[in-house]
């Protein structure tokens, strides 16, 4: 199912932060994790993840450092910072409000 551009963009920040909360990771692994978690429903254009990561880095929510991959290529690893953790918590609350609100109205809609 197509989620639409805006919804994908809006959910990108909390998703990436939450995945990084599980531990340090890199672009390709994050994409794979997203697809795994969503059961393949949430599909990102791979390249678009990187501007998001760079924005989070600029905001200080994640920190990046260059390491190397198994094949020896240079790879950029991202990890969550303290500010990132705080921001993730705030995001989680916001999404919970949206989620609960929708949930209630949908329950009603089903019973009506």
């Amino acid at each position: 199912m197509d989620l639409g551009k805006d919804l994908v963009a809006a959910s990108a920040t909390p998703l990436v932060l939450a995945i990084l909360a599980e531990g340090e990771s890199y672009g390709y692994a994050i994409i794979k994790r997203v697809s795994e978690l969503s059961g393949g429903h949430l599909h990102w254009t791979d390249g678009m993840l990187y501007p998001v990561l760079h924005r989070l880095e600029r905001n200080g929510f994640v920190a990046a450092k260059w390491g190397s991959s198994e094949s020896g290529r240079r790879r950029k690893y991202y990890r969550l910072t303290k500010e990132g953790r705080t921001h993730l918590e705030a995001e989680r609350k916001r999404w919970q409000i949206v989620d609960e609100t929708l949930h209630r109205i949908w329950l009603k809609a089903c019973h009506a």
């Binding site: 890199y26 672009g27 390709y28 994409i31 254009t45 791979d46 390249g47 678009m48 990187y50 501007p51 760079h54 924005r55 600029r58 991959s69 094949s71 290529r73 240079r74 790879r75 950029k76």
Partner: protein
């Protein structure tokens, strides 16, 4: 994992993809590397799942997203990158860092050498205050040999093959310093001495051009490149000079604040050494940035062509309306020389930025109008001068100014003719470009003649 012809073609495909990505201004080197690692991870995972390498590559590229959309996203996140362009690194993959570092060192050394060359004569007791004439005659010789040296190095010319490039400099140094210029009782410099000082840089600029173009000097396209270089250098130099002025001002006032008057630092060191070194540094910046930003000279040309045209037309209209003739004073000929030189510059730089294949447009008409009105103004000035030239007599200044006027007049008149033919669809724009580039050595030759012949002809007065 397979390694064979298939793998080699994968590497080639990734290389091509990387090259496309590199051309995007918003995506920098480290980003490209990050994205490439991602692409390779994706290809690796897909081949392990059973896809052939070329199929895997196609799928991975598709998943990465279109390059346009991608670079738009990067540009949104890194809008500064569209501005910050002073990356002094050559394009391409060949060991850029060491090359740029070596170049920076060479440029620095040459700039320091030029700055020291300005101070060298002090060791022989020649100071800027007492021997202004000496410094005026030799200004270009302090700087241009080093600039030529930079291009000899930069273009990787075999130094043994371009020893002859030194000949004009040595000859010029010998001529301007051995001529027995005779100054009047109240003169600091003689007339022919001033003429030499003004014309020598123009003549020697040709030598710089020959080094800059490394054998492409005979091609019109090559000469046009040198014109572009000269225009950009002029602009960079003006900017560096502005910065230098600010630096000098701060130096003076800061030391004044602690009760010292360091006039001599600015006068004897900061300004002369900075002015010499800035030529080399400015040239280096033009070289480094020529691919990076839009050239400024053509932009300024676009801005000022209409304005100059309006001023000239209003001037002509006012003259016709009021009936005031041109008042012939001592320097009026020089004024009109400068006007023609500016117009030649405007025509040259707009030609340098024009696509020769494009059809005539409004701006071309404007150019023609500019040239014609400049020619009319100049003709009026010449007519006024001609009627009284016998009265004034032939001083070296007047002959030089008259000669320059004729040279510029010929250049512009023929340009106007070619422009008119182009606008009527009777000739290609290339003819105009070819005429202007072919004419460039005439300026340098005339300048050389003034330096070499005028002092002896006019008795070194």
């Amino acid at each position: 994992m397979s390694a064979g012809p298939d793998h080699a073609s994968l590497e080639a495909q990734i290389g091509q993809w990387r090259a496309y990505l590199r051309r995007r201004r918003a995506i920098t080197g480290p980003d490209v590397e990050e994205l490439e690692t991602h692409l390779r991870d994706q290809v690796g995972a897909l081949t392990q799942a059973g896809l052939a390498e070329d199929e895997a590559f196609l799928v991975a590229v598709k998943r990465m997203g279109s390059l346009d959309a991608l670079s738009r996203e990067f540009a949104r996140e890194h809008s500064d990158r569209l501005w910050k362009q002073l990356v002094i690194a050559p394009d391409g993959d060949a060991a850029p860092e060491t090359v740029t570092r070596t170049e920076a060192l060479v440029v620095f050394a040459l700039a320091v050498a030029a700055a020291l060359a300005v101070k060298m004569p002090v060791l022989f007791g020649l100071t800027l205050e007492r021997d202004a004439a000496f410094y005026a005659r030799n200004t270009s010789l302090f700087v241009l040999p080093f600039l030529t040296g930079y291009f000899v190095w930069k273009r990787r010319m075999d130094p043994r093959h371009c020893v002859w490039l030194a000949v004009p400099f040595i000859a010029a140094a010998a001529v301007v310093n051995t001529f027995p210029f005779t100054r009047g009782p109240q003169q600091v410099v003689s007339h022919t001495e001033v003429l030499s000082a003004v014309h020598l840089p123009i003549a020697l600029w040709l030598v710089v051009g020959i080094a800059y173009l490394r054998g492409r000097w005979l091609e019109g396209a090559g000469r046009m490149d040198f014109v572009r270089f000269s225009g950009e250098l002029f602009i960079y130099y003006a900017l560096i000079a502005l910065g230098g002025g600010v630096l000098t001002g701060f130096t003076m006032t800061m030391f004044a604040a602690i009760g010292l008057k360091p006039d001599w630092i600015a006068r004897d060191w900061l300004i002369p050494c900075g002015a010499a070194g800035a030529v080399i540094v400015g040239s280096w910046l033009v070289e480094a940035k020529q691919n990076v930003i839009e050239n400024m000279a053509p932009v300024l040309t676009r801005l000022f062509t209409p304005l100059f045209t309006i001023v000239l037309l209003v001037f002509l209209a006012t003259m016709a309306w009021t009936g005031h003739p041109i008042d012939i004073q001592r320097n009026v000929l020089i004024l009109f020389d400068l006007l023609l030189a500016v117009v030649v510059g405007l025509v040259l730089f707009s030609a340098s930025a024009r696509d020769p294949e494009a059809p005539p447009n409004l701006f071309d008409g404007l150019q023609l109008l500019l040239i014609v009105s400049a020619l009319v103004v100049d003709a009026l000035a010449l007519a006024a001068i001609a009627s009284r030239i016998s009265e004034f007599g032939f001083t070296p200044n007047r002959v030089a100014a008259l000669g320059e006027n004729l040279i510029l007049l010929v250049s512009l008149a023929w340009s106007a003719w070619l422009y008119a033919a182009f606008l009527r669809g009777r000739g290609p724009f290339r003819a105009l470009e070819a005429w202007q580039t072919a004419y460039l050595p005439v300026y340098a030759t005339w300048a050389a003649l003034v330096v070499l012949l005028f002092p002896p002809i006019f008795g070194y007065a």
